[in-house]
Symmetry: C2
DNA sequence: GAAATCAGGTTTCAAAATTATACCAAGGAG
DNA sequence: CTCCTTGGTATAATTTTGAAACCTGATTTC
């Protein structure tokens, strides 16, 4: 079990995983989909500012990594639903923790930015 | 307390924070620095594959956001130490959880990729 | 005294990724 | 016939990234 994966090593496979997770759109998608399946255009509408291409590409990568499943329903017009896989579900808390942290510490970050910009800008 | 921050909203300030955190280099730096202060070149050597520019820029952003502190020691030659701020320290577990997840579920992701590539490539 | 070394960066420029925009297919509504 | 829906892809413009060179300032080596 104790494989010698080292995320600091350049060619460690965990770097690929980190790359997938260290992505704004991937995190937002994973978080958005955690309560149940969602259609492509629904995600696009909910995640404000994402481009169709970014959504399409990110979903494809998440699907390839086994985090999200893609189901085509032969309705008219076809609808495609994306959902967390069991593997993806194990990430729920982690992803939520990041979004949560952002919301909880927003003020502190904003204050730090103000202090930094104020001190540095006067030089 | 219950501010109406919504990370799905395009111009919500939490998006900025997510942007900072959803970055491979930022996460690796935060995780690398969690046990104590580190010098610039030490980080550069430890985090394999990071360019000097990426390290410098990422550190500057983390400093601006109040997550990392920068201390110049007037030694010869000067050394600069980067450390977690108290605010940055509140992120330790979250960041570690991501790295941890990557290491723990690496095999599953690799398997999913193989399955995906195998099924899709034959068409 | 010229050259090389260390630390911690910045600058430069080309390559890669991201974004906005347009387009496509298949069917239904008006 | 024209427009709207779904779920994309193709193309072009913009932005970000990465590799490599350069810079400052002080010290040691030849």
């Amino acid at each position: 079990m104790a494989y010698i994966y080292d995320i600091y090593e350049e060619n460690c496979p965990t770097r690929q995983v980190l790359d997938r997770l260290a992505d704004k759109w991937a995190l937002l998608i994973l978080d958005r989909v955690k309560h149940g399946p969602m259609r492509f255009n629904h995600l696009k509408r909910d995640i404000r500012g994402i481009s169709q291409k970014a959504l399409s590409q990110t979903l494809k990568k998440l699907e390839r990594d086994g985090l999200v499943s893609r189901t085509v329903h032969p309705t008219i017009p076809v609808t495609v639903e994306y959902a967390l896989t069991p593997l993806g579900a194990t990430l729920k808390e982690t992803v939520a923790a990041i979004a949560h942290w952002a919301e909880r510490h927003m003020e502190a970050v904003l204050d730090a930015q103000k202090a930094y910009d104020g001190a540095g800008g006067e030089r």
